[in-house]
Symmetry: D2
Subunit: 347 residues, 4 copies
Amino acid sequence: MQIKVGVIGATGYAGAELVRILSAHPHAELVALTTQSYGGKAFCEVYPHLYKHVALECRELDLPALAEQADVIFAALPHGHVVPVAREVLARGKKFIDLGADFRFDSSEVYEQWYKVEHTAPELLRQAVYGLPEVHREKIKTASLVGNPGCYPTSVILGLAPLLRSGLVDTGTVVVDSKSGVSGAGRGLSLGTHFAEVNENFRAYNVGVHRHTPEIEQELGKLAGEEMRISFTPHLTPMNRGILSTIYAKLKREMTLEQVRAVYEEFYRSEYFVRLLPPGILPQTKAVAGSNHCDVVPVVDPRTGRVVVLSAIDNLIKGAAGQAVQNMNVMFGLPETTGLERPGLYP
Amino acid sequence: MQIKVGVIGATGYAGAELVRILSAHPHAELVALTTQSYGGKAFCEVYPHLYKHVALECRELDLPALAEQADVIFAALPHGHVVPVAREVLARGKKFIDLGADFRFDSSEVYEQWYKVEHTAPELLRQAVYGLPEVHREKIKTASLVGNPGCYPTSVILGLAPLLRSGLVDTGTVVVDSKSGVSGAGRGLSLGTHFAEVNENFRAYNVGVHRHTPEIEQELGKLAGEEMRISFTPHLTPMNRGILSTIYAKLKREMTLEQVRAVYEEFYRSEYFVRLLPPGILPQTKAVAGSNHCDVVPVVDPRTGRVVVLSAIDNLIKGAAGQAVQNMNVMFGLPETTGLERPGLYP
Amino acid sequence: MQIKVGVIGATGYAGAELVRILSAHPHAELVALTTQSYGGKAFCEVYPHLYKHVALECRELDLPALAEQADVIFAALPHGHVVPVAREVLARGKKFIDLGADFRFDSSEVYEQWYKVEHTAPELLRQAVYGLPEVHREKIKTASLVGNPGCYPTSVILGLAPLLRSGLVDTGTVVVDSKSGVSGAGRGLSLGTHFAEVNENFRAYNVGVHRHTPEIEQELGKLAGEEMRISFTPHLTPMNRGILSTIYAKLKREMTLEQVRAVYEEFYRSEYFVRLLPPGILPQTKAVAGSNHCDVVPVVDPRTGRVVVLSAIDNLIKGAAGQAVQNMNVMFGLPETTGLERPGLYP
Amino acid sequence: MQIKVGVIGATGYAGAELVRILSAHPHAELVALTTQSYGGKAFCEVYPHLYKHVALECRELDLPALAEQADVIFAALPHGHVVPVAREVLARGKKFIDLGADFRFDSSEVYEQWYKVEHTAPELLRQAVYGLPEVHREKIKTASLVGNPGCYPTSVILGLAPLLRSGLVDTGTVVVDSKSGVSGAGRGLSLGTHFAEVNENFRAYNVGVHRHTPEIEQELGKLAGEEMRISFTPHLTPMNRGILSTIYAKLKREMTLEQVRAVYEEFYRSEYFVRLLPPGILPQTKAVAGSNHCDVVPVVDPRTGRVVVLSAIDNLIKGAAGQAVQNMNVMFGLPETTGLERPGLYP
């Protein structure tokens, strides 16, 4: 099988990572790369690492042609711009995977409250599936419209899922402290991504008001079977790739590390991409950089009765493009690891 | 007044930073720099940034001579090695400022439990003052023996002191998530400080068991007037200098941001080194790098009822050498800012 | 003496560094900080490291008022915008130090050829002095108009001056390979200064066509007493501050390292800021970061008959703001090191 | 075909990179990973990025068993330790690829002069082939013993080969200024690779005396058909991976950029891994990081009559492990790109 693939918004970091992964995917064929900024330029002049690997030119979006030509379309666009695209693609019976936030929410009210724009297609929202295969695999198999999870949410949900599903932690005590590399902010220009401002600097941002908060709460809440309110603080760390989330929660009852690890082992037994690291080894972003893995380790602190979960991903891969391809594989009945098997780079 | 100063352990990062600061201090005169590794070598060959600024040679420790020669002695040694030095110095009526952990604890039991060595001078422990001037200034003024605070504890205690002193937070809910640059690990060699292992990497370490935990709990407990147990997770971030602590606690009652800021304003009104940044500006490590400032900002999250405090220091200055010099200034009746007035470097 | 100082273009990196240095200069008083972008904002909100150190607000340029108020005006503006400012300042009998390129050239033709704009004040060019005190100190003492050297040229000219003045190298063989931190590109936004593009990357730019080339050639030529053509390649290295220039030239005759070092020792005997490091220690950018020093070391390669000179500066200090203040000190008869004595930060 | 592969010295950076590449090579089967330091430990505990990808344990070297078991053996050991290994492997009719320096030289005298140890197998030296496929492919095809090139030499030889083979540059004028990431120094501990010493620092080392100098001169000399002496200066840049070499030479006669580019196009027409980038795009280390490519671009400077060649590689891949696998492919008659086709990671 060859799946014909179009990428909308291909010249941002998430888009370019999609192109890189798909260019080496044995069952995918890139048919169109669209962009607002580089129309007519060879893609590999915008991203010279792909010279000799990607021959396509960037072009401006011609949606009907693209929807005709491709079997599946990925969009890596700012939120609020994707609904008309999704409508057209779905109308032609093709599949759509959105890397933005427009199809991640069960409730358009929550979306509108946090993203400050109207959601113009609540009916598509009802049809969309939240694309975290480790949690929603069965629904993704038959979905036409997938909202690919945010980078922070991926790390947090995978970090807490076993504990919440088992009802082991007090849901009101969850504190999430996440640290991200700079590529998560995209390739756009801002003082906040200027090298000299980021390098040798560490800072928090959007404390208590980051838009990934309700997305995390929605999915954690489903796992826990009750509404959840968490504290979530994202931080910018001077590196390109990687997210480490440090997650704190009170255990409902005293548990040993072995008991907690057993819950994780059971939950992730058949998952390839989530790795419960052996005792004594903690997740670190470098160990997942360049791969689709999420490394997870729980630590029990008997002094405080808290469990501290460390969860690491490559924000551009498991946190964006890799997970999107994983979703494509699930949607098209391919082995889930196709095109995503390679280990990352170290150091 | 010229204070004659000796530095023991001068060639580690904290020691070298002491030398740098003291070399430009208008009322200090460096009389001896001792080291185990570089005896006989010019100090500025070990640290070429001080070429033309420091003419002394490194020498091996001759304690009686040193105690005779100096008015005050700083030690930047691994824990467990300082007691005999302190004894000798104090016996000769000189002052002693220890940058290590041996004189930070009220209780030798707590020290021994966390540091796994016997404390051989509990009587000195009783005499020692915890050298955080913003909290213990009056005692420091008359102290001969000061235990200079750890880097993480400095950032955390200054971050929480106003809230705890006022009894505004639920002490059982405190979670501290700290991130440090690599110089905090010292100049010694280990795989954990190898450039290629740290660069483009972010990781936690010593989760729940870091030795700064009881030091933080001791001082927070004194401020709160009750025993405290906190969750404390240190992380290594790929930069040289700086600590950012993100501190979470439940407010006992609903408070506005303005009310919380007013508590901080009141508490730090007359402190030069602690800066409550204006609304809208968050602490970042780069803004304090190279200075003795601690930047603090509380954020109120009404959704969760938590306050999130951000606190930033330069781990080698306010977290070590700068604070030690600040203590010296207090002990000798100098203006507290002497030799420490300069702003940091940016970017 | 208190010198009243105005800074035009104060919110770029070079401008902010001027403000930082001057805020701690014992004989300078900042009277106005002008900027195009932040009018009305407190300077320390734009640069929070200066909170509590600089109380001035940014304001838009009112040239007559500024020229009236200040004894000396520094401008850190893009080239081509400074002539009218200089005219006005000089007309009122005040001194002017330009950190840009408009007053660095002896010949307006050379300037126009490389900078692609007309020079509208050749008569001021004749009056201007090239502000490298180690070479042109006597002229600077009586100058009203100083063209502060570029960052690369400072490192290169100081690196080669002793050899050229002595006529020891074949001037046709000079190759200069320079590496700069990112702050040299300023605080403006461009893909080339985006963190994720620079970090973990090393690249050359403007190969053979960088505008500092003619400036270097002009000054090297004067030292050599003949016209010079050099190869100059600048590179961007993933760090904030610092330039290292590696300079190659054929020796006219065989010389030992001792003989070459003797030439440097003689040339820089009475210079405080230039440091000929002891044998066995090579310049590195970290050893000068935060200081006004230029570290220089020549190496003789008997196999090839070449001398290789390493020269390191902090591009924002000796390469810009520090040198400008050094020039101010010379122009006002102050000790040259005033406000610039502090060693840099390490690590 | 499945090639059975053993790796000696598998836990250094070059060794681990071999393991990573070979673990995904469709015609290679890792049979043994030997190490001095981690015997008995799972390889993926030493390198957690390979968890779930490499199941082998590290073991101590049992040479006869290894030589029996494997079809080809790679060694990533310090120089001077490989001769007995090579003897044993070759005696059993297996192939040997050495990533160290012991089999790179035509002359044992040159080796001994620069490496300060005796070469105990000059007869093997005569048998060995210098493993740069783009230059010596035919000999590699039939070789049993390959000396894999050094990282710097790979970048320099590929950068200059077209010009030297064509006799276009004055061989006495070649100056090579190379910049390397830190992984090139290996995983061993030293102050020179301590994070805080390297980060925010740029420095040269081994000026004029680096051991890659004679290796470069040997190969350049063969291409030029005459003995060559070059100036070579390596530098350490604060990043993990990548080498950029900036190479200067006088053209014998005036040439246009187009003429020079035509020489490169012709020379590299059928090479997959060497990429002559399109006009206007310069090599940068990030564009080759994670891949086996060498990006090369010549620039002509008519002002000085010099050509400046930029050449970029990933030091651990094309500069070490990737090139070694490329050699294996050639030696076993596989398509040269097998296991090496993937593009690198960006950013």
